[in-house]
């Protein structure tokens, strides 16, 4: 691995930076060379993309703070409108300039205002001879704001005529941003996923103070062996590692095994981790419940996960309405007469099913049906007479609010509303019992 070196920054800082960003050295040195020296003009915009938790945000943040480059860091999910976003950038610019001075509330309604205020802020901070970095995390959210926001950020350097670089971080590729014509192409950079070796190295770095690094790294090795197939998310893995470490240490604490006794430790932890994969990882039971379970030494089977509670108790007619809706969604209209009428005519078997209908309707998904059909089927499947009371109609709407039915096409409700049944066959079976 090449050591980071750059003439503009002190070697001590670079060394520290290198220790903080394991397995991302090449990306960091690339970025450094793009940034150039402090006063150099850099690319107007840089687009960094990579899969979830490939270190985009972390690397950017560590780089900028360690080298003490002037920067603004904004998450686009949090500032969900363009106004909030622009104001937040300005606030951060102001507040970092002088902490003691009371920051007056900023009002920035348009990009035009932003450019003006931005120039003022830069002038106040005396940053003319330094590159200012604006990092926009989760930049894919920008697409949902006004159309001019994204192109303007891409050429902010040109618009403000100041030394500024905009860094966009995103999990999706640049092509999906669909920039319109006249957009300045940013410099794109890809952060590849961490390999299993990388994960091992990074996770082993933070070992608990009570135990040796080797011991912890052996633990991480076992953990990755179980979880690497399903999860490569660094954050999630670290969380899981912390959750299950106490269990791993148990034999050592009790004195049954020493720290080198890897096989014994493996035997102890492996089924436990497998159980964790079924439960905690899927958020079937919460991590605090998991810890308590570990603490009490109980079996994981005791706690029922979220998915175990699938049964829904419904009023009598709601059940029938739901069943009728299911029938209406998955049966073709032509068959209604045959299924629900007592004296239906004879239907020739050969011609009855058209070719396309032979594919299972369950594969095709529910089809919309009008209210009339639902009620007609309801009347025929309920044994006794059903009066069309207001309660029946309100039950249909409450099924819609419970998301068991869904309304198709939100047009005029007088116009014969159409519904779809959104529950599965298993659910209907459970109800029909």
């Amino acid at each position: 691995m090449p050591n980071l070196e750059h003439p503009a920054y002190p070697a001590a800082d670079l060394l520290r930076l290198e220790s903080l960003v394991p397995c991302r050295e090449s990306q960091v040195s690339m970025l450094l060379s793009i940034f150039g020296e402090r006063q150099h003009f850099s690319f107007p915009s840089i687009f960094i993309y990579g899969h979830t938790s490939s270190g985009k945000t972390y690397v950017m943040q560590t780089l900028l703070t360690t080298l003490q480059l002037p920067h603004v860091f904004v998450n686009c999910v949090e500032y969900f409108t363009s106004r909030l976003l622009l104001e937040e950038i300005l606030i951060q610019l102001q507040s970092s300039s002088s902490d003691t001075e009371q920051t007056c509330p900023v009002h920035c309604d348009s990009l035009n205002d932003f450019v003006r205020l931005f120039k003022q802020a830069v002038a106040r901070r005396e940053l003319q001879d330094e590159t200012l970095y604006i990092v926009l995390d989760r930049a894919e959210q920008l697409r949902e704001m006004e159309a001019n926001i994204l192109p303007a950020f891409l050429r902010l350097q040109e618009l403000t005529d100041r030394n500024v670089t905009v860094v966009l971080l995103s999990e999706i590729v640049w092509e999906l941003f669909c920039p319109n014509v006249g957009c300045l192409e940013p410099f794109t950079m890809y952060f590849p996923d961490y390999s299993i070796g990388h994960l091992q190295k990074i996770l082993s770095q933070n070992h608990p103070p009570e135990y040796s690094a080797d011991f912890y790294s052996a633990y991480i090795n076992i953990l990755l062996g179980v979880f690497y197939m399903v999860c490569r998310d660094l954050k999630e893995l670290r969380h899981l590692a912390a959750l299950n470490f106490a269990k791993y240490c148990e034999p050592v604490v009790r004195g049954e095994a020493n720290e080198r006794d890897t096989r014994k430790l493996w035997k102890n932890i492996e089924p436990h981790l497998k159980a964790a994969m079924q439960t905690v990882y899927l958020r079937e039971i919460s991590s605090s419940q998991w810890e308590r379970l570990q603490h009490d030494g109980g079996e994981p089977g005791q706690l029922k996960g979220l998915s175990a509670h699938t049964h829904v108790e419904l009023p009598y007619y709601s059940k029938f309405l739901l069943i009728a809706a299911y029938l209406a969604s998955y049966n073709p209209v032509r068959t209604d007469k045959r299924f629900f009428l007592k004296h239906h005519g004879k239907i020739r078997k050969t011609n009855f099913m058209k070719k396309h209908e032979k594919t299972s309707n369950h594969l095709l998904g529910p089809k919309p049906f009008p209210l009339d059909r639902l009620l007609a089927i309801l009347y025929s499947i309920v044994d006794n007479r059903v009066a069309p009371t207001a309660n029946i109609f309100s039950q249909i709407t409450s099924l819609v609010t419970l998301q068991l039915l869904s309304m198709v096409g939100q047009q005029d409700q007088l116009d014969g509303p159409r519904y779809k049944c959104t529950v599965s066959l298993d659910f209907i079976r459970a109800i029909a019992r």
Partner: protein, 715 residues
């Protein structure tokens, strides 16, 4: 039928609007129908006090039922953030991903009841956990922006009532301009928590002892199902980013099943949450408790008749599962009973009866004489007493008082014996008389329960119970009867205890009987000849039939017969009791009309048979013919019933004018009928547009000059 889909989620809360009026006004309403001689004031006051008692009782029941759930929730919430506050330096806490503590609260599909639960929940939370509780509803939060606005509005205003008055104006001014972002929320949180810290302990001792120094911010999502995925995701992502500065706690109100969390949130978002599940009591159990405490008690003089109770229970079981609606229905019954029954003035506690009976007016006495149950009673008396009852008011009053006292005693006994019978029937296989006590109650109210087939079969089954079951049941019965307030049960209890000792004696003798049965088996094995065997078998069968029953069996018969006699004595249906009309509300049809209205049928009746509502003799039509005297819309409606899915307007107009003209000028010549009168044309157009407004037809684009039917029979 589109029109009725518009009636979405409308629940009938009639009584509440009646109650909200000022009390004088309502008393006046009571009077408006009948004159003052019928004690309207008193009836109204009785009704009010009775309802207040019942309301207090139901609230108490609900509180007790929710207590467990709320306690669990509170302990979860108080645990959730304290862990992090205690040991932030520990390695595991540093390494662990900080999740948002989330309580998934499964409340069942009875959405109407949830409001009450949430209100109780937020009160409890504000008392025990944190003053910062926000309740969010999906309809207020179509986007993340609205959600933040709503959240901040609620949090900051709840801050105002905690703080002193001086801050109020400055908070209010800034609220309009405040930026709806997480950062302003965080700065607000920092400022309020700092303020609480710096305040002198004497001033804030109370609150600081209840809440610790940085109380969590609790956000309750009332109806999780209705929130859009994006809003929830965004909010959780933002919240988890700031969890270190703002200790957020989420509560999801779930009506269906907790699976909805996984359906709404992708793994990347749900991994930010630390979800624990809490389940509320099922609404059926809730209802059972309510019925147990409100109906199966002699505490309240007011009773529901069988049909009425059935209507209420059916609405609950078939339609909404809502306990609130059940109680509202019960309230409606009370109001309706006191409003429509003049004699309901006597529906009061036993201590007041004497005074009220004495002050009855002559008209009221006549009312008593008119009661069907009283008439039946009179007919059974000897002639001298009959005359006295029918003519002498004071004699009648004395008799009434006695009868009412009887009725009270009957209630007390009824409830205890009903519970005893339920002990027996609820453990029989297949539950011939129902599993729940409410079913048994309905059966007993309906008619003489001992005459029904189900009762017969359950007695048969009871005669086959084994020893241990029978003994435990008898013990339960003894307990029930001992705790009941009825005075007549001393003897019954004694008798039951006697049975119990007899059973104990029997156990000692049990071993001998076994020997006997074994010997008979041995005899059977000796005979090998087929004919002989057959003969012996027949003999044994004969002998078994005629054989004297074992002592246990005899005793069992005795017990069952005794229970039967108790049932026959005490579980007489209320309708057979004299003066039951005073206590029992029986107008099921009225109730059904109010609570389970059928708008569709009503509309059809109105249009098809206007006489039903207008009461105009001229409109009375015979058979299926169309009268031309009916309102235009009725004629148009009837004509449209005969059409297909698409209706030709010209044909329709033709038919309409034929009907209308039929009576006016029967002998008009053909030339004039060719051209439709302008007035008739206008009337037709108005009627058609009225039908369109009601949602029966709509203009169609498929064919010109046609309208499409939206109602039945179109296809």
């Amino acid at each position: 039928w589109g029109f009725f889909a518009v009636l979405q989620g409308c629940f009938v809360f009639k009584p509440s609007s009646k109650k909200r009026r000022s009390s004088e006004k309502t008393a006046h309403d009571f009077r408006s129908r009948s004159d003052d001689s019928e004690d309207t004031e008193l009836r109204f006051v009785t009704c009010q006090s009775l309802w207040n008692q019942i309301k207090a009782e139901t609230e108490q029941i609900q509180e007790d039922l929710n207590k467990q759930l709320l306690d669990n929730l509170v302990s979860f919430l108080s645990r959730s953030h304290s862990e992090f506050q205690e040991k932030t330096t520990e390695w595991t806490c540093r390494m662990k991903f900080r999740e948002i503590p989330t309580a998934a609260l499964v409340l069942g599909v009875n959405v109407t009841d949830h409001n009450l639960t949430f209100r109780g929940l937020s009160d409890v939370l504000q008392d025990n956990i944190s003053p910062y509780v926000a309740l969010l509803e999906a309809k207020d939060c179509p986007g993340i922006k609205n959600l933040m606005q709503k959240l901040m509005g609620q949090l900051m205003s709840c801050d105002i009532d905690v703080d002193s008055m001086e801050d109020e104006d400055c908070v209010q001014v800034s609220q309009n301009r405040i930026r709806c972002s997480m950062s302003s929320l965080i700065s607000w949180y920092e400022s309020v928590t700092k303020k609480t810290d710096s305040e002198t302990p004497s001033k804030k001792r109370n609150s600081s002892s209840r809440h610790w120094q940085s109380p969590p911010v609790v956000v309750i999502f009332k109806d999780m199902e209705s929130f859009t995925t994006k809003v929830l995701q965004d909010f959780i992502v933002i919240g988890s980013q700031h969890i270190h500065e703002l200790p957020l706690v989420l509560i999801f109100g779930i009506a269906t099943s907790p699976m909805i969390i996984h359906r709404l949130l992708p793994h990347s978002v749900s991994s930010l949450l630390c979800i624990e599940l809490f389940q509320s009591l099922s609404c059926k159990e809730h209802l059972s408790t309510i019925i147990d405490k409100l109906l199966l008690t002699s505490q309240f003089p007011f009773k529901l008749g069988e049909k009425v109770l059935q209507v209420l229970i059916n609405i609950f079981l078939y339609h909404d599962f809502s306990v609130q609606n059940f109680i509202k229905g019960f309230q409606l019954c009370i109001v309706e009973h006191f409003y429509s029954q003049p004699l309901s003035v006597l529906c009061c506690q036993l201590v007041d009866v004497k005074k009220r009976v004495c002050s009855l007016s002559h008209d009221q006495c006549e009312n008593i004489r008119r009661l069907p149950s009283f008439r039946r009673y009179v007919e059974k008396q000897e002639s001298g007493k009959q005359i006295d009852l029918l003519t002498n008011d004071s004699f009648l009053k004395g008799e009434t008082e006695k009868l009412l006292e009887d009725l009270h005693v009957y209630h007390e006994n009824y409830v205890s014996i009903l519970r005893c019978l339920h002990v027996f029937t609820s453990s029989l296989p297949k539950y011939p008389l129902g599993k729940q006590i409410r079913e048994l109650h309905c059966a007993c109210l309906e008619n003489r329960v001992w005459e029904t087939e189900e009762y017969e079969s359950s007695l048969q089954l009871a005669r086959m119970l084994n020893n241990t079951d029978l003994v435990t049941m008898l013990q339960q019965c003894v307990e029930i009867l001992m705790s009941s307030s009825g005075k007549e049960f001393d003897k019954t209890v004694e008798k039951l205890k006697e049975f119990l000792t007899q059973f104990q004696n029997l156990e000692a003798e049990a071993s001998q009987e076994q020997d006997v049965s074994v010997s008979s088996q041995k005899e059977l094995q000796k005979k090998t000849d087929l004919y002989q065997l057959q003969k012996t078998l027949l003999e044994m069968k004969e002998s078994r039939r005629s054989k004297k029953l074992t002592k246990f069996e005899m005793l069992r018969f005795e017990v069952v017969d005794y229970i039967d006699s108790l049932v026959r004595k005490y579980l007489v249906p209320a309708a057979d009791r004299t003066l039951h009309e005073i206590m029992y509300f029986n107008a099921a049809a009225v109730l059904r009309g109010h609570l389970n209205a059928a708008p569709r049928t009503a509309l059809h009746t109105a249009l098809n048979n206007p006489h039903w509502y207008l009461k105009n003799q001229a409109l009375k039509c015979d058979g299926g013919g169309i009268s031309n005297k009916a309102p235009d819309i009725c004629i148009v409606y009837k004509l449209h019933l005969e059409c297909g899915r698409l209706i030709n307007l010209v044909d329709w107009l033709e038919a309409f004018s034929t009907v209308v003209m039929a009576a006016e000028e029967p002998n008009a010549d053909a030339a004039s009928s060719d051209q439709v009168d302008d007035i008739i044309h206008a009337r037709f157009i108005r009627a058609v547009s009225e039908l369109e407004l009601l949602g029966f037809i709509k203009p169609s684009k498929q064919k010109t000059d046609h309208v499409a039917r939206l109602t039945w029979g179109g296809c």
